[in-house]
């Protein structure tokens, strides 16, 4: 009962004095969306298992500020990324850049699928030629005996 009273009091006391549509947390929501979209593809260097967008680390906040500033100055996403890569290397990118060293990474899955299907096709085609059920003459003899009703050896 006292809790209910407290809640009611709380509600009435905090009732809409100047109820309004809440302001966006960011000063410029459109820019912020762009900042966060890019930040989600970047890796926080301190909490290395979080994106730059999620991380609460001070460095992450600093870097988000840098990203925001650069975007406000009119830099493109590629230029902002370049700024960070210059200082921290490719490690900061969750989307690995396409380079000679990452060709295998990016084309690997397709390659695996292609090789898998190629092997499959070859095996299926070869089956048609080789009739290998593994039955030997010994097996045929035993089968004949069984069918004739005698005990198998």
């Amino acid at each position: 009962m006292p809790r209910l009273l407290a809640i009611l009091l709380f509600v009435f006391l905090s009732a809409p004095i100047a109820a309004k549509e809440a302001a966006p947390a960011a000063a410029d929501p459109v820019l912020e969306k762009r900042v966060m979209a890019l930040a989600e593809e970047l890796r926080c260097l301190v909490c290395q298992n979080q994106t730059l967008a999620e991380s609460n680390a001070p460095l992450a906040e600093d870097l988000r500020n840098q990203v925001r500033e650069k975007m406000r100055e009119g830099k493109s996403d590629a230029e902002v990324v370049g700024f960070l890569v210059e200082r921290y290397g490719d490690f900061v990118l969750y989307r690995p850049p396409l380079k000679a060293t990452t060709l295998l990474l990016w084309f690997g899955p397709l390659l695996l699928l292609a090789v898998g299907f190629a092997v499959l096709l070859r095996r299926v085609r070869r089956r048609r030629q080789a009739d290998d059920t593994g039955i030997t003459d010994e097996d045929r003899r035993r089968a004949a005996e069984l069918l004739a009703g005698s005990e198998p050896r």
């Binding site: 309004k20 809440a22 990452t102 499959l120």
Partner: protein, 658 residues
């Protein structure tokens, strides 16, 4: 006293496991019935002692025995009872004990449900599992002993990580380990088959329910982890392609290929060497996963406290167990033979294609996870591979699998006809195309990726209905629809349900990714914000105290079209012992959408930053996983596995290795 008892119990379990391993394998090789018969009691004894050890550790936690180092690191006197129990598997050493407990539970299960198997097969399966257990028990006793004492004992514990103080987190590791460890049975059956040379349809039938059951547990375990991340981490994300998540996903992918491959081996005797290899691979990936999260080789949110000695030990275990079985494979597999013949267009070839897709998917996940390590090891630089890569690569890979899921079950064994399939599936195709073109508009806008997702999901669901319809139409049982429905085997229902679950899952993922909306706002009491057609009003924040935390709890009232939908209470908690700050999101769960509210920071005395999300169909993600697991459970409990248990040992005139 109790911790020492626990340690003694583990040592005894080790002896019994060793006995089980040697008696089983050597006994089967030498054809000694007494030795083979002794494996069952040895296995049961091992289970009993590991259970005792686990009980001892649990007792130490419950009684707040901080003289035990592991308890001191993972518990606290203010910790509620259920989390003191969960703390048993909250850290590395205890989770290894849980692992080994799960292994002994599965082993015990095998001793119970294997009466119908030939004695040498049971002996070999139990033998292999025994040796795996030996490996892990040695690992625990030598590098990861949870019973070590701490002198001087601290006055209170370090507390369980607040992230783990949650029901979802409590169930996630046991489910996951049941899955990981369950694949050891499929592995044991495969190795036993390679050793005995008897790799026939019967082997597949024995192995199948165990493998499917393990797969069910793994599905549930992964879904729990994902669901937990969604409601606990405050950002509404549910999958991050984190190395540890990948470590659980890879065995799942290979496990899925395995259960499908076993189906073919059981029905047609084909794919035998493929199936054996998949069984080895599934368990290999389980072990690899264990290695990755405990060795420090990769960074992950899930990584346990790492130690190079432990890493080396697990690597050695991995090398012995998998290296050994792959060598056995090289030696024995060429003699296995091809089995039943089939045409390029047939259910077999489609299932084989399915295997290729899932194997390629697992390989891609492995590639992405280990690539940074490979580059670093070869001195070629340091990169990161994250969600942008996996998301880009995974969807195109899975698309063929989803397409096959519709066609495969309808294709005939041995020889299927394309015109026949096309005619039977034309309505399903039509339904999918119509859905892809029109449904997105119901959500507001059309997008190519959404359309693709819906196309595939409706395709799978619609072709599932076609399968059911045909089965019922063709089934025996006369006129009554009910008798016809009940004459369809349970395994078929299992398959249909599981595939339907996949369709539901795809809908969830597609819709939430395409149509979720969020707003990040600064709210004073009384302020409102509109998201997804709902109005959220911030009523202020008050202080609350929990058992081991203090929090600011906000009240958010949600309305739609003037009527109250719900009241949400997101919190910002500070756990006193470690001084961690945790965000507890408040979620209004609905069948067609979730309303997700997360409290940010206070920006003034009265104003707070609040994040509000509208997530359409997000619960279909986990609903789909649950359906998949239920489908698997149905399939595993099919009559023919239980009937087979009552039939005496069978003789086979099949291709046996000389």
């Amino acid at each position: 006293m109790i911790p020492e008892l626990g340690q003694l119990a583990l040592a005894l379990a080790l002896c019994l496991a060793l006995a089980q391993g040697l008696l089983g394998l050597v006994g089967a090789a030498r054809g000694e019935p007494v030795w083979m018969a002794a494996t069952r009691p040895a296995a049961r004894g091992q289970f009993a002692f590991i259970a005792i050890a686990f009980a001892c550790l649990t007792a130490s936690f419950v009684s707040n025995d901080f003289t035990v180092g592991y308890v001191a690191s993972n518990s606290n006197s203010a910790l509620p009872l259920q989390y003191r129990v969960a703390g048993v598997w909250g850290g590395h050493e205890g989770s290894m004990l849980l692992w080994v407990l799960m292994l002994s539970v599965w082993t015990f299960g095998v001793t119970l449900f294997s009466r119908h198997l030939p004695q040498d097969m049971v002996a070999r399966v139990l033998g292999v599992m025994g040796l795996v257990s030996v490996g892990f028990l040695l690992f625990i006793l030598f590098t990861s002993n949870p019973f070590l004492r701490l002198f001087p004992a601290p006055p209170d514990g370090h507390d369980l990580n607040p992230l783990l103080q949650d029901p979802g987190m409590v169930m996630h590791p046991p489910m996951l380990y049941m899955g990981y460890v369950g694949f050891s049975i499929a592995f044991a059956f495969a190795v036993a088959a390679l050793l005995s040379g008897r790799l026939d349809a019967a082997w597949a039938r024995w192995s199948r329910p165990w493998t499917t059951a393990a797969w069910c547990f793994l599905t549930v375990g992964i879904a729990l982890g994902s669901g937990w991340a969604y409601y606990e981490l405050g950002w509404g994300g549910w999958w991050f392609w984190d190395p540890a998540e990948n470590a659980s996903f890879m065995p799942w992918l290979v496990g899925t290929a395995l259960i499908h491959s076993l189906a073919v081996t059981e029905k047609r005797g084909a794919f035998r060497s493929w199936t054996v290899l998949l069984a080895i691979l599934a368990f290999a990936l389980s072990l690899l996963g264990t290695f990755l999260v405990r060795s420090g080789v990769l960074t992950s949110v899930h990584a346990f406290a790492t130690d190079p000695t432990r890493g080396i030990f697990i690597l050695a275990l991995l090398a012995l167990v998998i290296g050994g079985s792959l060598l056995l494979y090289v030696w024995r597999a060429p003699k296995i033979g091809l089995g039943g013949d089939f045409e390029p267009l047939s259910r077999e070839s489609m299932l084989l294609a399915n295997n290729v897709v899932f194997a390629a998917a697992a390989g891609s996940v492995l590639l992405g996870t280990l690539y940074p390590l490979a580059l670093d090891a070869s001195g070629l630089g340091k990169i990161s591979v994250g969600p942008p890569y996996f998301d880009t690569v995974f969807v195109p890979l899975m698309t063929p699998a989803l397409f096959l899921m519709g066609v495969g079950p309808l294709a005939r064994w041995k020889k299927a006809s394309l015109p026949d399939l096309a005619s039977r599936l034309r309505w399903a195709l039509a339904a999918s195309v119509v859905a892809a073109l029109t449904l997105p508009f119901a959500m507001g806008r059309w997008g190519a990726l959404v359309a693709l997702g819906l196309l595939l999901a409706v395709w799978v669901a619609a072709s599932g209905f076609v399968q059911l319809y045909e089965k019922v139409r063709n089934a025996a049982g006369g006129v009554s629809a009910w008798t016809r429905l009940s004459s369809v085997p349970r395994a078929t229902y299992g398959m249909l349900l599981a595939h339907f679950g996949v369709a539901v899952f795809v809908v969830g993922v597609t819709m939430v990714k395409a149509y979720e909306t969020e707003k990040d706002v600064r709210m004073e009491p009384g302020d409102t914000v509109e998201v997804g057609g709902y109005t959220f009003r911030f009523d202020g924040v008050r202080d609350v105290t929990g058992p081991n935390y203090v929090a600011g709890r906000a009240r958010i009232t949600v309305n739609r079209n003037g009527s109250l939908v719900s009241t949400l209470y997101p919190e910002k908690r500070i756990y006193k012992v470690q001084n961690n700050v945790m965000t507890e999101a408040a979620i209004d769960t609905g069948f067609t959408r979730d309303l997700y509210v997360s409290l940010g920071d206070a920006v003034s005395d009265t104003a707070w930053v609040v994040r509000v999300y509208h997530k359409p169909f997000v619960d279909w993600i986990w609903g789909g996983c649950l359906l998949m697991a239920l489908g698997g459970a149905l399939a595993a409990s099919d009559r023919r596995y239980r009937l087979a248990a009552r039939r005496p040992q069978e003789q086979y005139v099949a291709a046996a290795v000389r």
